[in-house]
């Protein structure tokens, strides 16, 4: 199975919606790659404009709060992360369609307990997160240390896991139904 993990970025806000992840004006793009530069272009964090191009450049994992990906059903929001090499989003909770779109693309939307999310948000420095899908374990290391600063379990629905292992819902459904 594909390996998941990498440098983390923290988006400290509830209810980040898919219009903020990728504004509607880019929905006319026919290729996913054209979405790359516009990821989180309209995001407001703490009332400031978030400089997505700079701040997201190195990230492979997003850690965020409640109801991530609410609003429009556009899968473009998931693709905008995917083409920026972000294949793991860890949140307190997700909006249904966004979560389903992530697994449908064969990538991970992981829900953690509030207190575990808080532990991740409390880390300071460069945070690297690895996902052990077989053992359902998340480990976070800070500033290149060998020792993990936070380790916690997560739950994944067996169906979602199967989607990740076959590379998404289309591949799964084409074979099974």
């Amino acid at each position: 199975m594909k390996k998941f993990g990498g440098k983390a970025i923290f988006l400290d806000r509830n209810d980040i919606n898919t219009d903020e992840i990728i504004p509607a004006k880019y929905l006319t793009e026919i290729t996913k790659n054209n979405l790359r530069e516009h990821l989180l272009e309209d995001l407001l964090l703490d009332g400031r404009n978030f400089n997505a191009r700079e701040e997201m450049a190195e990230a492979q994992v997003v850690v965020t709060r409640q109801n991530f990906g609410c609003g429009s059903s556009r899968e473009h929001a998931v693709w905008a992360f995917e083409v920026n090499n972000i294949e793991v989003i860890i949140a307190d909770s997700f909006a249904r369609i966004f979560r389903q779109n992530m697994f449908n693309c064969g990538i991970l939307a992981i829900e953690l307990d509030k207190k575990d999310i808080e532990r991740l948000f409390n880390l300071s420095g460069d945070v690297e997160i690895t996902i052990d899908l077989d053992n359902q374990l998340i480990s976070a290391r800070v500033n290149g240390a060998d020792q993990e600063a936070v380790q916690c379990d997560f739950e994944i629905n067996p169906f979602d896991r199967d989607l990740v292992s076959v590379g998404g819902w289309l591949a799964y459904a084409a074979k099974k139904y």
């Binding site: 004006k25 609410c70 059903s73 249904r96």
Partner: protein, 429 residues
Amino acid sequence: MGKTIAEKIFAAHLRDTPAPDTMILDLDVVMCHEITTPIAIMDLMDKGMDAVFDNTKIKAVIDHVTPAKDSKTAMQGKIMRDWAKRHNIRDFFDIGANGVCHALFPEKGFVRPGYTVIMGDSHTCTHGAFGAFAAGVGTTDLEVGIYKGVCSFRKPETFRITINGQLSKGVSAKDVILAIIKKITVNGGTDKVIEFVGPVVDAFNMSERMTLCNMAVEAGATSGICMPDRVTAEYLWPFIQDNYTTVDDAIAEFAKWHTDEDASFVEQLTIDVSNLVPQTTIRYKPDQVVDIESLPETTVDQVYIGSCTNGRIEDLRDAAKILQGRQLAQGVRGIVTPATPQIYNMALEEGIIKVFMDAGFCVLNPTCGACLGMSSGVLAEGEVCASTTNRNFNGRMGKGGMVHLMSPLSAAAAAVTGRITDPRNLLED
């Protein structure tokens, strides 16, 4: 143990249970529009899967940006047209016959009680007004829906909202749903089906029920749903009259879907709307809602009346009640888009289009237009719009613009005063 309407629909459409709480359902209707479908079509073609599971169950429309505004939107339309032709999709609505999907498809009688419906559009929940399970999905789900006619869902949990009381004059279904979203918040309905019941819902017509269900997704819900009854049967009668001898027969048959008395709910809420006053959103989340009368003076640059939430004939009639004999306030731009050609025609015949034009409104063809900030009324940075649509997200109608969601009555009141205004002050007794 009894079942909810959603549980009954799931049971009747269950194809597979790949995990304990995951259900694969057979689909009755797969709806398509030109923003999310072309990319699905292209991907299916790429993978050698360019087929449709049943061309009579696929309904397609070009509605979001129509007429095309540039080469890219023109190409999206072309991909849809070619595909509809290739697969002989008869229910395809192109320019001249097109309108906002969630207003057009109900009008054609495509959704029936007990149906399963998906579309690559989050406001698909609107069709729950007919007692169907209707959910918005992403492109991959849409692809599988088109190709295989199935979709996966988690087991439905039901949040029952009972609406009691009597609405006072000047207060409408939009105010009710805004007040509900305020109360349960933007994720109060996540992973749940919201069932709307009670005397207020019973008395609502289909248009009002659609307004309620339309915004269920603004509370995160998978679908909104109403019990199919006489109102539903009478609305659908032209399409179902060959299947039943009388309307009463249809009503009796629809009743089999109703939630059982001993069904269980994950959550329940009862509200009384007798004292409800006109509502509007403030800021960027649909649960940031206040009474219009308590809002400090807020001037508007644009008023937008239309969309799948409030672009139906009943909505235009409401707005016209206020606009009749009045003018847009100085410096305010008014835009109205009747949601379908049929609505446009009715509005013409009833003299409503003239009321809008006399007031100084620009009348657009049926389209989603500015609702999603792609065309036909996009806001400039710093501009404010009073809108009958369903989303006030940052940037939704144009980068740096502010959208205040409200009823058609309230939007029309803002149009003539130039600031967000309680419409009750402008309605005749």
